[in-house]
């Protein structure tokens, strides 16, 4: 595959006129029921490989250098670390019970893992493979987001319904923000000025001013012909410039495109069924969505805001990450 990347790089250099030419990135999709990872080539948009990943793989992420792929194996109570090219399992990380989602410190270490069963966030040193701290949080910790300066990691607790702001040096909770029911995902903007928290059962995304610890806006979703109960926001991704926010709406089978300045919903894109998580390619040309109940991935062209392809993957795709350049 490296050859192919080089080839496409040469091609891109040679054909500078075709500005829409995307790099070939590897896209990794965790299949919750299939117990495996589907690997997709972002240029051909074809599945290139599938490999086993432990029981109930959900949260998925990559080391900064792209040399390690981290996968939460929820039913094995570990985080598996794979070589993203050979798919060889390199080692495992201690994770605490039932790990679901995690986030990496911007420096690449440590890893912050939400442990749903134990009401804690586990902080793991990925180099020493040891637990640095366990932070008690609300009931059913789930979403994890880290501020771009690395000073604050935010955890959402699904039953307590809070975003907990944890100081990454002292591991103390500094602020708690009450949001709507079942908060699942926390995403900072790249400038660190805003934090988006999705509430699956509440049906909203809270826009939080992290400095003030206050909600400045609640984004609501409405699609004609779809019952309000089906609007269940889960995954959230923001473009680097902060101007566009993409929100996966679960059983509404839509991804909402929100204006990052006015917080108005500008468009709803029809994707597969029960859309969970989202991931951009590093050049932000494409956005991949995992569609849990239709066993596929939708590919969104970020500039034109169109779904350009649907790719069949494994059983019940859940998480997605794209390798860095």
């Amino acid at each position: 595959m490296r050859l192919q990347q080089i080839a496409s790089a040469l091609l891109a250099l040679g054909v500078m006129a075709t500005a829409t030419q995307a790099w070939a990135y590897r896209v990794y999709v965790s299949n919750e029921k299939g117990n495996d990872i589907t690997v997709i080539d972002s240029e051909t948009l074809e599945v290139i490989d599938t490999f086993k990943a432990g029981q109930r793989p959900r949260g998925i992420g990559m080391s900064k250098d792209g040399k390690e792929l981290y996968v939460c194996a929820s039913d094995d109570d570990i985080v598996n670390v794979f070589d993203p090219i050979t798919y060889k399992r390199l080692h495992t990380l201690p994770s605490g019970p039932d790990p679901e989602l995690f986030t990496l410190h911007p420096s690449g270490n440590p890893l912050y893992i939400a442990n749903e069963d134990d009401n804690i966030v586990t902080v793991v040193d990925v180099k020493k493979r040891s637990v640095l701290a366990e932070v008690p949080v609300g009931v059913e910790p789930e979403g994890m987001g880290v501020s771009p300066d690395g000073k604050i990691v935010v955890n959402t607790s699904e039953t307590t319904n809070m975003a907990h702001f944890i100081n990454t040096e002292t591991f103390e909770i500094e602020t708690n923000v009450l949001v709507d029911q079942r908060p699942r995902f926390a995403q900072f903007t790249d400038d660190g000025k805003l934090l988006y928290v999705s509430s699956e059962i509440g049906g909203t995304v809270s826009v939080i001013d992290p400095a003030a610890g206050e909600i400045i806006k609640k984004i609501e979703f409405e699609v004609r012909g779809i019952v309000p109960e089906a609007m269940q926001p889960v995954g959230v991704r923001v473009t680097k410039d902060g101007k566009k926010v993409f929100v996966a709406l679960g059983p509404a089978n839509r991804v909402a495109v929100v204006n990052g300045e006015t917080f108005e919903v500008e468009k709803y894109l029809l994707v597969g069924q029960r859309v969970w998580q989202l991931a951009f390619t590093p050049d932000e040309k494409l956005l991949f969505t995992t569609n849990g109940n239709s066993n596929d991935v939708s590919v969104i062209d970020v500039e034109s805001l169109k779904v350009i392809k649907t790719i069949a993957v494994g059983e019940q795709p859940w998480g997605v990450v794209v390798a860095p350049e």
Binding site: G138, V139, N161, I173, I201
Partner: protein, 398 residues
């Protein structure tokens, strides 16, 4: 005296307490749970024998969860439990209130609940009904100081018959027991069958003649009795059993004369909760409960849990421990609660019934969850289950 000790369930701090609140500043929210015990016959199956702490374990789990949130909001949740005979129920209720609990979750029959409600009428006390399913409490006997967390019989029946309508199993053979609860359950099934276009082609009553519930190799007689009891029925698609008293329904599957599925009190059952449910984050709930109680969760545990969580959610948002503002918030447009059934739950302001999905389950797995697709409603899909506004005379919101 059967008024048992009021157990103050004081929760231990687990781990550090990161909230920056002094203990003296904490707002105390005191929840009482009252079980009014009546003699009930033994169940057919020993698997259904009532476990230790039935219902109360749900309150304990919910209090732990409320307390975890309370660490961050500066609130301290207390739980007081009481069990009483019907004769001593009012006294037990007074004792709970005198002990500081003005928010009381009840495990009581409809009649006992009505007596409790009238006893505290005019006081700043809110009752949350976790057990009584009587339809009359939602339509005619309107108790202003009671919130119904338990689904009504009508709500459960609608959840089931919607599914049968989707399956196009429209011809129903209804067998009801001879006890009062069985008759009320049969009434609810009849109403619901009519509502969703099913036709009851045959009705029979199974008389309970008393006697022991179980005997050694009792199946030998059952295998002869049930086919005889179900023979010569007109052509039907599904047999509905209305047997709240647990006298006969469990014996119907595989013993009917005609090879037909059984639903209602056996086979496919509409229930509030099932220990096999794993969807919508329910696994975590099941594991938390099992860790605490060392057994699987029952519907009554879940309903008491839901009632105590309702109080916790309202107290978190309103930051009050008084019954009146909490009740107003719970019945208002801003209240919502995630309960591991895929959608938020809210209360119907006209009769104080909790809107909730109904699980349809067999013994081992969830078969489906109602409301089903294809039954639209102008306000909420959940209002296709149970009594809609125009069907209730309560009109608390008018």
């Amino acid at each position: 005296m059967r008024v048992w000790l009021l157990v103050c369930f004081s929760l231990l701090w687990i781990g550090s307490t990161p909230a920056r609140v002094n203990a003296s500043d904490k707002q105390v929210i005191s929840v009482g749970v009252l079980k009014v015990e009546r003699e009930t016959p033994l169940p057919i199956s020993r698997l259904d024998l009532p476990p230790e702490g039935l219902g109360f374990q749900g309150a304990r789990l919910a209090t732990e969860e409320n307390q975890t949130t309370g660490r961050f909001t500066g609130q301290d949740y207390q739980l007081n439990e009481a069990t009483a005979s019907p004769e001593e129920a009012l006294e037990a209720l007074d004792t709970l209130i005198e002990g500081g609990s003005n928010l009381i979750v009840t495990m009581a029959t409809g009649d006992d609940l009505t007596a409790l409600s009238k006893h505290v009428s005019g006081r700043d006390v809110l009752l949350l009904n976790a057990q009584a399913e009587d339809d009359s409490l939602r339509t005619d006997v309107c108790l202003p100081n009671v919130l119904h967390v338990a689904p009504s019989r009508a709500l459960k029946a609608d959840g089931l018959t919607q599914f049968l309508a989707v399956k196009k199993w429209r011809k129903v053979f209804l067998i009801s027991g001879s006890h009062d609860g069985d008759k009320l359950w049969a009434d609810a099934l009849r109403r619901s069958a009519n509502k969703f276009g099913l036709k009851i082609v045959e009705e029979r009553t199974f008389e309970d003649t008393g006697g022991a519930r179980r005997s050694d190799t009792g199946h030998v007689q059952v295998q002869k009795q049930m086919p005889i009891f179900t023979q010569r029925a007109p052509d039907y698609d599904v047999l509905l059993a209305a047997d709240e008293s647990d006298v006969f329904a469990a014996y119907l599957p595989y013993h009917t004369t005609d090879p037909r599925p059984v639903a209602g009190s056996a086979g496919l059952r509409p229930i509030g909760w099932h220990p096999a449910n794993e969807a919508w984050g329910a696994t975590q709930f099941q594991r938390r409960f099992e860790k605490l109680a060392s057994r699987r969760v029952r519907s009554l545990d879940y309903q008491v849990w839901l009632a105590v969580r309702t109080i916790g959610e309202a107290a978190t948002r309103v930051k009050s421990s008084e019954a009146t503002p909490l009740k107003e918030y719970i019945l208002g447009p801003d209240f919502e609660l995630g309960v591991f059934k895929g959608t938020k739950v809210t209360f119907r302001p006209w009769n104080h019934q909790l809107r909730q999905p109904v699980l349809l389950a067999n013994d081992r797995v969830i078969v489906s969850v109602s409301p089903q697709d294809g039954f639209p409603h102008r306000v909420s899909l959940m209002d296709t289950l149970g009594f809609d506004q125009q069907e209730s005379t309560c009109a608390f919101n008018k």
